[in-house]
């Protein structure tokens, strides 16, 4: 009973207070309370980051202890986690040694892995863009025009390409995105009301 009721009450109060703050900005008490709730959210999010790190520590320690598949990679992960946390705590995140780790280890590795996306996109575009029917044809044509219209070589191939590309982005794309944004906002309002009224309980977990 309490396990479900308390989160429902917290959800109701937090939602009502923040909503009230926006609709009644002249009410100093509500304004201050609403500000506090928004600030608490950042504190909770910071705790969630810490919780994630603890979870990572536990999961990978177990993996190493059981010598599960990829346990050697877990050692590297834990060593990095502990080293960076220690440097951050004792030397500070603005210290030269922390920056060195970021600039010469973390950033090149992360950028390198992410750059593999270019290879996947090239291969996927080649395999998936097929003129099967008029809809896929329109999609393919739009993609080709926008892709070439964004770079200088597009203008060399066809002078009017950048203008057509800009038109696609400014008119049909904006119209579509505006519809999605308005639809999404209406959905968010409906979901928020359901959470405030306790009708939406998915966030409580447990699959109910």
């Amino acid at each position: 009973m309490t396990r479900r009721t308390v989160p429902l009450i917290i959800g109701f109060l937090a939602g009502t207070i923040v909503l009230g703050k926006y609709f009644l900005p002249q009410n100093a008490f509500l304004d201050s309370l609403g500000t506090d709730v928004v600030n608490w959210r950042t504190i909770v999010a910071a705790f969630a980051l810490g919780l994630g790190a603890v979870n990572l520590l536990g999961t990978h320690t177990m993996r190493i202890a059981r010598k599960e598949k990829g346990w050697d990679a877990s050692i590297v992960l834990l060593a990095s986690l502990v080293t960076f946390t220690a440097i951050g705590l004792f030397k500070g995140t603005t210290s030269p040694v922390y920056q060195w780790g970021f600039n010469y280890l973390y950033q090149p590795i992360y950028s390198g892995i992410s750059s593999l996306l270019a290879f996947m996109i090239t291969s996927a575009s080649y395999r998936s863009f097929r003129f099967k029917d008029w809809q896929s044809g329109v999609l393919m044509l739009g993609a080709v025009i926008v892709m070439l219209g964004q770079v200088g070589i597009g203008e060399l191939l066809f002078r009017g390409l950048p203008a057509v590309s800009s038109w696609i982005m400014a008119v049909p794309n904006t119209a579509g995105m505006r519809g999605i944004a308005i639809g999404g906002a209406l959905g968010a309002i409906a979901l928020s009301l359901r959470v405030i009224l306790g009708l939406e309980r998915g966030y409580l977990g447990g699959g109910q």
Binding site: T42, A46, Y110, F119, S125, Y126, S166, A170
Partner: protein, 283 residues
């Protein structure tokens, strides 16, 4: 028996595609081709807005990207920051991603001295705040949300914040982002105070900000590596983006070329095999 040419056109092996892509990127980087650089309206508007700000205006530069997308975002940020510094604008850096602060530190350790910028007086780095949208919504109550800078120095002790009341004193907000997070500034600060916003984002961000560019809430946008290159040219601060544009042009051309080759084989195969081979291949 080897498959017919139109089937082979549809099944170029991945290693061949990857090797060609590497070549197509490498050659222009080693030997620039001098392909023309386009100048988009969005970048021009962004440049003109920043350039027209009087000396001493406050720019709130939000950093919401990480190394996954910094190939596009970092050249944008560097071109923008050099332009701010060239024009004597005050800068407040605010990381809304864990890694964001490191890019601001790079400015402090490497680039600020180039323009004689003093920390605390000409620019300040705020600490990272978790929470995504809440970390932006919280800025409306600036002083209780952000009492000190990244070093723990109270903001009220820093010269830049003398006379600073709240976010209404900011002249322009520039979110530099790899996602649509920058739009939270539109909903929370532009909507509340009318603070102008210039967006700097990766190429996929453009579709999301289109409606806000049309409404005038976002005054201009620097999009992708091409946007960074355009801004470097406009602001007269040459950087790595301009040099990398030939490689990007050739990469786009390769993708389009591969799509055309694949479709040539597909359509020919469809004609030869009739409607039975739905994907243009023999069944």
């Amino acid at each position: 028996m080897s498959s017919p040419w139109y089937e082979r056109l549809q099944s170029i092996p991945k290693p061949a595609i990857y090797a060609t892509l590497i070549l197509v990127f490498l050659v222009p980087l080693i030997r620039p081709m001098g392909l023309p650089l386009l100048m988009s309206e969005n970048t021009r508007k962004a440049y003109e807005y920043i350039d027209a700000l009087p000396e001493g205006s406050i720019v709130f530069h939000s950093i919401a990207f990480n190394p996954a997308v910094d190939a596009e975002n970092w050249p944008q940020m560097l071109a923008l920051v050099r332009h701010y510094m060239k024009n004597g604008l005050k800068i407040i850096f605010y990381p809304t991603m864990q890694e964001g602060g490191m890019y601001a530190e790079r400015i402090r350790s490497t680039y600020a001295a180039e323009y004689g910028y003093e920390y605390g007086e000409d620019y300040v780095i705020l600490p990272f705040k978790a929470g995504g949208e809440s970390a932006i919504a919280g800025l409306k109550d600036f002083w209780s949300f952000m009492p000190s800078d990244v070093d723990g120095t109270p903001l009220k002790d820093l010269p830049l914040f003398q006379g600073f009341t709240d976010m209404r004193d900011v002249d322009v907000i520039v979110p530099c982002t790899g996602s649509s997070d920058g739009l939270f500034y539109v909903s929370h600060l532009n909507a509340a105070y009318g603070t102008p916003i210039i967006m700097a984002g990766t190429a996929p961000v453009l579709p999301f900000i289109g409606p806000f560019l049309a409404s005038g809430q976002v005054k201009g946008a620097i999009i992708g590596l091409s946007g960074a290159a355009e801004y470097e040219i406009l602001a007269g601060v040459p950087g790595q983006a301009t040099g990398a544009m030939d490689a990007q042009s050739m990469g786009h051309l390769l993708i389009v070329g591969l799509v055309l080759i694949g479709n040539l084989g597909f359509l020919y195969g469809k004609r030869v095999n009739g409607k039975n081979g739905q994907n243009g291949r023999r069944s």
